[in-house]
């Protein structure tokens, strides 16, 4: 990553850090949702963007993080922060398990995408049926506003925690992109056979990517559970989060550390803005949202980060 794209990211992060101190709760609410999607998308990017395998089922990790955080608290009385940490670990474990099963079988491309989709669906159906997750009734975390409980009276505190997670993963992504591991990811992404010929353990590399990816997306799920305090199978394992994680990365710039942040913020801002300006017509925001999305993908296939990069390159000449 070079300086021209790093500067707007830094400015954006500073703005995001300052906004919650002054903004209305609705704005903060918007920010938190966007940041949660950003985090999920960052997780997706670590696997799909950096290492190659396209997943259509990141809901599997998101839901695992959310459910582990919520179930440990509501059923076993575990502290919320510990539950959150356990959720992240569980995401990595589930990532490792799905990865081991599918990568070992040599599933690539659309086959891998389909198997992840299937895993997420299986998880959704199981979560909808077993009593541990509350079945179809869902899980309601008790409203008990104490910082020790990972619940805050001010929405801003939560926004800062979400932002902290996003920044941490951003730093991790940049570090990985510059590291030996990042080079291995890139090699596997570009050509698996060539990578293998170079002596890279492809399976181990992909497993590292999916474990990291699962953990980060699970963190998004844990944050979601703590913020909204309500979960059911369709929220946790529904395809909406798989799609949002994937879209945010594609719109923001696939394989770039800052892409998920740009993408998630832009998509959510567009959705909110169209709702604000055309709120009278029910559902018009979703229609406009779709149109803008098609336009963005048609005219900026490299995503926002990619466009910024090429614009800046043109400027410099």
């Amino acid at each position: 990553m070079n300086k021209p794209t790093l500067a707007p990211v830094a400015v954006l992060l500073v703005v995001l850090a300052v906004v919650p101190a002054f903004a209305a709760n609705t704005t903060i609410n918007f920010l938190v949702s966007a940041l949660i999607v950003t985090l999920a998308a960052q997780g997706w990017n670590l696997l799909g963007g950096f290492c190659g395998p396209f997943s259509f089922g990141h809901a599997a990790f998101f839901g695992t993080g959310a459910y582990v955080t919520a179930v440990l608290q509501s059923r076993y009385g575990v502290n919320a922060w510990a539950g959150f940490a356990a959720g992240i670990a569980a995401g990595a474990v589930v990532g490792g398990a799905i990865g081991w099963l599918s990568f070992r079988a040599g599933l690539r491309g659309s086959y891998f995408a389909l198997i992840t989709l299937a895993f997420a669906e299986v998880f959704r159906i199981v979560a909808n049926a077993v009593p541990l997750t509350g079945g179809a009734t869902g899980l309601l975390l008790k409203l008990d506003v104490r910082p020790a409980n990972f619940q805050f009276a001010s929405r801003a505190a939560f926004a800062w925690i979400a932002l902290g997670c996003v920044v941490a993963v951003l730093a991790l992504s940049i570090a990985i992109a510059r590291s030996r591991l990042g080079a291995q990811f890139a090699a596997v992404r570009e050509n698996e056979d060539a990578a293998r010929a170079l002596g890279i353990d492809v399976l181990a590399t992909k497993l590292r990517a999916i474990c990291l990816s699962g953990a980060v997306t699970a963190a998004a799920g844990g944050l979601y559970a703590q913020y909204f305090l309500y979960l059911d199978a369709n929220i946790a394992y529904g395809s909406w989060i798989s799609v949002e994680a994937l879209l945010a990365v594609i719109v923001g710039g696939i394989g770039t550390p800052a892409g998920p942040l740009f993408g998630a913020l832009a998509l959510h801002a567009l959705g909110e803005a169209t709702k604000l300006f055309a709120g009278a017509i029910t559902g018009i925001d979703l229609v406009l949202f779709g149109l803008i999305l098609v336009g963005a993908i048609a005219f900026a296939p490299a995503g926002i980060a990619g466009s910024l990069h090429s614009l800046s390159a043109r400027w410099r000449r």
Binding site: V15, V19, N128, T137, L143, I235, E272, G283
Partner: protein, 403 residues
Amino acid sequence: MRFPSISRRAALRGAAATSLLAAPSILRAQPASVKLGILQPVTGALAQDGELGRLGAQLAIEAINAAGGIKSLGGAKIEMVFADARSNPEAATQEVERLQAEGVAAIVGGFASPICLAASQAAARYNLPYIVDVGVADSIVDRGLANTFRFAPGFGMFTSVAISNLAKLNEAAGKPIKTVVLVHEDGLFGAGLAKLMNTELPKIGLQVLETISHPTPARDMANVALRIRALNPDLVIPSSYYNEFVLLARTMQQQRIRPKGIYAVLNGAASNYRFVKEFPEAAANVMDCNHWYHPTNPLALAVKKQVEAAGKVMAYNVPLNYSCVGLAADAIEHAASVDRAKIITALGASTFAGHIMPYNATKFVGGQNQGAAPVNLQVQGSDIKVIFPAGFADAKPVFPVPA
């Protein structure tokens, strides 16, 4: 030292994009009016129900304002602040934040249980009174949230009334029903209902042959219908949302599967005029235990006329929201203030009887209206009639259904 002009430019772009986030919501200055938040899902899977709920709330607000508004506040008019729950709990939570920012005195609505659960909890953070219109999950009022009130009956009351009425119905007809198949959607309400039915039906001497679940949305109910044919039960008890039940009823009609009765509980379609109008043969004689307007209350009939004049149908969402808005206005009237704590106290002590449901005056215990009760309905001809309880009934049950 060279300042990279590019990064500044790109930075400005970033800043411009984020400044969008801080755009303040536009507040209209109408100091005399009382803002009432109406939360309904008008986009997404539940849009049809949400629109009807909005209509009910709107008619009630118009009626209250035409009658002079809130008198204890000098005739203050009620102003509707509408929020779209977009058929999911997350959007509902966000809309509650917006309603809070707009300074509403109370929120009415929610429709689906997950939306009500999440939205009422979000409102509880601000001690914002929340009146649940439909959501039947018992957990809505079991959480000890002081701000949450449910005007309509909950799940527990529905099942016990439905089962005792079924026993009465069966006995009065000479016990033609011995076996039952349960069909339910696999979401919050269907699954819970099926579980309860499985334990309660054997107690009234009915055997549950099988419990069949299906997802929402489901595009094809042929397999369910075929399974019902194979099991050949005396009674089918479906708990599904609108589209799925319509599909099931039509498929059963096409396949000539004719049990002695279809007895729905809280069904999305069995008590919906649209279904009766569009598929009269499939709908014929279907029974349901559900919310319904008071069939002989003149105000209810006047509202029904208004709704039909607007080209809509009088589904239960309309009278429930009409009544819930009335309840909110009544509480504000008694509180003589838009202070939230005072409104909550007034709701807790409410004895509101100006509603259009077949209920007694409101009496809240732990947030649940004890005056509420479900009714049994049956599609008879082109109309939906109340068959139980006798005090409100406008028809006799047709049971067992003639083959």
